[in-house]
Symmetry: C2
């Protein structure tokens, strides 16, 4: 039997948000490759299944390991959280394909979509992504901070709802504050800002505030931050962005 590689996302956390397609891929795998805490979410399937846990940073090395295993005939699943195509492992796998053994291009590779963090975060608070929106990772491990600031300003000027992935980590404590500064120079102070921690898990927590009052210290590594558009509004305990530009009618 020849090898294969499937890149999956486990969703935001709760088992009920992992797709059946992903669960089926995990059950068939001989080898799971991924960041340790994501692998820990997966119930044991077959007794001959090998788990290759790695550090969070080593994405490209992990992708190469997975491709090597598939090339050796194993049924490999690369495990991300959320959706594997959004700030996760799928891009690293194709980067490894491009820069690695040319034979890897002929491998049976598949990506299974999943529920990415911003969708789970939005669902916790209502429908803040109801209009045009963008997703920006605040991590500058792989891109220049100037690029991130340019994208933040462009997104604010175009009045997108903005989902901020990786808003803070121990190695990068100051970036969210700088992002808020950029956004405050363009967007109104009463723009809704949502800190959604552990969205799509039983520990989900929501802090709804405004851009003027938003404190970057409210975010940690498990937080997704959503900054509204000019039309984003609160109704009771909910926040949503209407489908239209004008006031609700």
């Amino acid at each position: 039997m020849s090898g294969s590689l499937v890149v999956v996302g486990t969703g935001p956390g709760k088992a009920e948000l992992m797709t059946p397609a992903t669960l089926a891929a995990l059950a068939k795998a001989t080898d799971l490759v991924g960041y340790g805490p994501y692998l820990d979410r997966i119930p044991p399937a077959r007794s001959d299944q090998h788990r290759h846990a790695s550090d969070n940073r080593a994405e490209l090395a992990r992708a190469r390991q997975a491709l090597s295993l598939a090339a050796a005939g194993r049924q490999v699943v690369v495990v991300s959280g959320g959706d594997p195509g959004v700030f996760a492992m799928a891009a690293a796998v194709f980067e490894a394909v491009e820069t690695g053994d040319p034979a890897w291009q002929a491998l049976d590779i598949r990506v299974e979509p999943g529920v990415t963090a911003m969708l789970a975060a939005a669902a916790e608070v209502g429908a803040p992504l109801g209009g045009d929106f963008c997703a920006i990772s605040l991590s500058d491990n792989l891109k220049a901070w100037a690029t991130i600031e340019h994208r933040l300003r462009s997104a604010a000027q175009a009045d997108f709802v903005i989902a901020l992935y990786n808003p803070a980590s121990r190695a990068r404590p100051h970036q969210l504050a700088r992002a808020f500064e950029q956004l405050r120079s363009i967007k109104a102070g009463d723009t809704p800002v949502l800190f959604v921690r552990a969205a799509g898990t039983p520990e989900a927590q929501v802090l709804a505030t405004t851009l003027a009052a938003a404190d970057a210290a409210s975010a940690d590594m498990r937080t997704l931050v959503i900054v509204g558009a000019s039309t984003t509004r609160r109704v009771g305990r909910w926040v949503y962005t209407p489908r239209s530009e004008g006031p609700a009618s």
Copy 2:
């Protein structure tokens, strides 16, 4: 028993991409409210379950009907395709809450996230959403075309990957061509463009081309269009956007 309302998305099409949480909500419902073709995807659950199918356009009326049923004590599920919070029913439900009977604000309302079309489309072709990206609906039923063009230009200038929802319909055949014109004035002609039709279904079809060669006639109502960033590239039969700004290393 008091009423409740859950807003769900069935995912892109295949049952294997609907989350167990959504399936559980559907099984418990006494009333399903939604656009007819989405309701048709759902296997019959309980014999006393009522299905209220409606036209695609009548989103706000459909939301009000669902809220009225919940207020009358029914267990209501509002059914969208994809994720309910992305160009779908959740925003219409909260707009109906804001503009309707004040008692509706006290209802038990919940949103269940799902796999939205751009994630399924991305998975069909590799990892084109691997960097910062935005989602823009080309429908001008509810917003001005000038707003859409401004967002397209801003997104191109900021070098986002751009996912275009609702690229074409019989009532709006010319907008995708106008969108490509806007993007061509800023982005390079060799930027990858992907037309992904019926993503996440057994009939999925991919057309990979470039911005210079992209023909708006390649899209229909079931198509999701992805326009790459400057870094988006092809490797074999795959398209991906690297996590970093520079060339692969």
